[in-house]
């Protein structure tokens, strides 16, 4: 990735409020990031972090209250109608659960062909569908099968083929392996990495699983209660996590190694995640943070480059008054 090239995706100051008891909840509160062509940015977070809401805004499935989404230099935040229909094929999504995201009454062929039909490109269906089925490693003999006749891994390959059929530039991968059996996860992750290389795809990879992210991402953004609290190139983030929340996440991720597990000094967080409605000032992580000071209750920390300097996607940044 050449730094300074035009980002394929640029997200700036996104805010998304949802109505909630006693007012509203800030699901996303000032999120900005860029993704370069051919790059994988992973957004990591737990439930309620806002990571899936960001994905839905990027895909124009949700209108944000503030902020903008720029695809390849064009502001697409408010485009509608014909302009939106031109944008849609350029970005597609792969869902978490291949069981519920596929129509049980449609064959593999029909499922993968549907986006082409909707786009009015019926003429291409025959050739293009067999091309993408081949790309994702599904033999032509599976084209007439229904979802219930497929394994979980095959179903997720169908989901990927459907997302690829319109030749998108950006794929939003929303927990693409979380619902799969562990013996099948690695196949799908390897396939995604391989497809990216062959097709020059750009990935926005949404996940709660740090180990998975480590294997696919170029850069990582950690979200907590609607904010990005840390972002860095993958190696840097895993080698030297700076935000206490990132450290807690990493320390809580179980490793399949009994020796490591016995040695590990686990950071066990106090309490539960604060409700974003309860936070009116200061750092939102402070109620669970072992480093919190009085200052954290009053000062809302912004993303800052560690060691100082101008922010850029290649720099390690954290939103904490006491980073490590």
């Amino acid at each position: 990735m050449s730094v300074g090239a035009v980002p394929l995706l640029e997200v700036e100051g996104l805010v998304q409020r949802f109505a909630a008891r006693g007012g509203h909840r800030l699901a996303v509160d000032g999120v900005s990031f860029t993704v370069q062509p051919g790059e994988t940015l992973a957004i990591v977070g737990e439930s309620g972090s806002g990571k899936s809401t960001v994905a839905r805004i990027v895909l124009r499935l949700l209108d944000p209250n503030a902020g903008r989404v720029v695809l390849d230099g064009d502001d697409i935040t408010r485009v509608t109608g014909r302009a939106l229909r031109r944008v849609r094929p350029r970005m597609q999504i792969v869902f978490q659960d291949p069981y519920s995201s596929l129509d049980p009454r449609m064959t593999v062929q029909a499922t993968v062909a549907e986006p082409l039909r909707v786009a009015g490109r019926r003429g291409e269906v025959g050739a293009r569908v067999s091309e993408v089925l081949d790309l994702v490693g599904l033999g032509p003999e599976l084209a007439d099968r229904y979802p219930h006749e497929l394994s979980g891994g095959q179903r997720q390959r169908v989901g990927i083929a459907r997302a690829l059929v319109l030749s998108p530039e950006l794929l939003v991968l929303d927990e693409p392996v979380s619902a799969l059996d562990s013996s099948v996860q690695a196949q799908i992750l390897n396939l995604l990495v391989d497809l990216q290389r062959r097709l020059g795809l750009t990935y926005l990879f949404i996940s709660h699983d740090l180990a998975v992210v480590r294997h696919v991402a170029d850069r990582v953004a950690v979200m907590h209660l609607g904010r990005i609290v840390e972002t860095a190139p993958t190696e840097s983030l895993f080698a030297a996590p700076a935000h206490p929340y990132t450290q807690a996440l990493l320390s809580a991720s179980p490793e399949p190694d009994p020796e490591l597990e016995r040695q590990r000094r686990r950071i066990v967080l106090r309490g539960d995640v604060l409700d974003a409605t309860e936070v009116t000032s200061g750092c939102r992580f402070r109620s669970r943070c072992w480093k919190a000071t009085e200052e954290c209750a009053t000062t809302d920390p912004a993303l800052t480059v560690l060691g100082g300097g101008e922010p850029s996607p290649a720099r390690h940044q954290a939103a904490c008054l006491h980073p490590s």
């Binding site: 394994s151 562990s182 690695a186 992750l189 809580a252 179980p254 399949p256 490591l260 686990r266």
Partner: protein, 352 residues
């Protein structure tokens, strides 16, 4: 297995205890088979599984979907609903055979001898009752002698113990007012309310966020030590297993394919499936790079191949693997594997 004993042989034990109960496994499963009719065919969800859990021991029952691990747990608890049924084998809880017990006989066992925690606490909690009341009811269901006010006090103490604080105030909460992790804590409080010897936890942290998962696993670990519980933890997550288990039982396609101490399984796995699974799991400590994927997927319970069910995905498989199901046999002390190459794989002479 020790000789059968008669109740009342020896005085001095806890009331209701069988003599020598501490020496018997808290749970002994032998040759368990469970069948379900599916579209006119019979599917063997569990096809002859044997394993045991001693008092004070944590055993992880590991497997993917369709491996039979959760059905095994239901069979142990006497919760396989018709038309599914246990067709073979034996289950002993604290030495007592439990298969075929009538529902009223089960009532004296559940809660007091064995209790279960499920993946989704919302399915087991009553949404319209306060949690304090539900914990108190769990106490009184199994011990009618406890007065209402005693049950209420004990419920508060239990909630306190599992980390729902301040317990007296939180006892008045309804389930929807709790987070997922707190609900699971309430389930655990209900499960340990009558001090069972054996706790079965089926994917207890799978639906939880990772930081919450760590808290709940810590709680289970502490309770297990404090109460000397036999803990059977059913999970698909090898990271969770590595952190909590003393021994591991690996299931694949309805059978136990390997069993050993946690170190034996993670360091010297003897079954090609266990090896391949461990090699394919992404780790946060690894450098980036292609993962070692396993080809294919686990067979449908209705379409298992003859012979070793892993043979179609195994790099070592020979003709004999495809005809005869390999026995679970020792490859080292306290370490067994159901693979004809098991002893060679265990010592690293053969690499799948």
């Amino acid at each position: 297995m020790s000789a059968p004993t008669r109740p009342g042989d020896r005085p001095g034990g806890r009331p209701g205890d069988r003599p020598g109960a501490d020496l018997l496994p808290a749970l002994q499963v032998t040759g368990l088979a469970v069948e379900f009719p599916v579209e006119r065919a019979l599917v063997r969800a569990v096809a002859g599984a044997s394993f045991s859990v001693m008092r004070g021991e944590t055993v992880a029952l590991v497997g993917e979907s369709g491996s039979g691990k959760s059905v095994s747990a239901l069979a142990i608890m006497g919760l396989v609903d018709p038309p599914g049924r246990v067709t073979d084998g034996e289950v002993r809880i604290g030495g007592q055979p439990v298969l075929g017990l009538r529902e009223e006989q089960w009532r004296t066992l559940r809660g007091r001898k064995v209790a279960m925690v499920f993946q989704d606490p919302m399915t087991s909690l009553n949404p319209s009752h306060r949690i304090g009341r539900q914990v108190a009811e769990a106490i009184r269901v199994h011990d009618a002698a406890v007065s209402k006010s005693d049950a209420k006090a004990r419920a508060a103490a239990l909630l306190e113990r599992v980390g729902i604080v301040p317990a007296a105030a939180r006892a008045r909460d309804y389930p929807h007012q709790l987070s997922g992790g707190q609900r699971q804590r309430v389930m655990i409080a209900m499960a340990i309310a009558n001090q069972p010897d054996l706790l079965i936890a089926d994917e207890p942290t799978t639906a939880l966020d990772v930081t919450t998962q760590a808290q709940v696993l810590d709680l289970l670990r502490d309770l297990q030590r404090e109460m000397g519980l036999a803990l059977l933890l059913i999970t698909h997550d090898l990271g969770v297993v590595a952190g909590i288990a003393d021994r591991v039982v690996v299931m694949y396609a309805g059978r136990v394919v390997e069993e050993g101490t946690v170190d034996a399984i993670f360091r010297r796995a003897a079954h090609p499936y266990t090896r391949a699974l461990l090699a394919s799991v992404p780790r946060t400590g690894d450098a980036r790079g292609a993962l070692r994927a396993i080809v294919g997927s686990p067979p449908d319970p209705g379409e298992r191949p003859p012979g070793c069910a892993f043979a179609p995905r195994c790099t070592l498989a020979e003709d004999r693997c495809r005809t005869k199901v390999p026995d679970l046999r020792p490859v080292a002390e306290h370490h067994r594997a159901a693979c004809v190459f098991g002893d060679q794989i265990a010592v690293g002479r053969l690499v799948p």
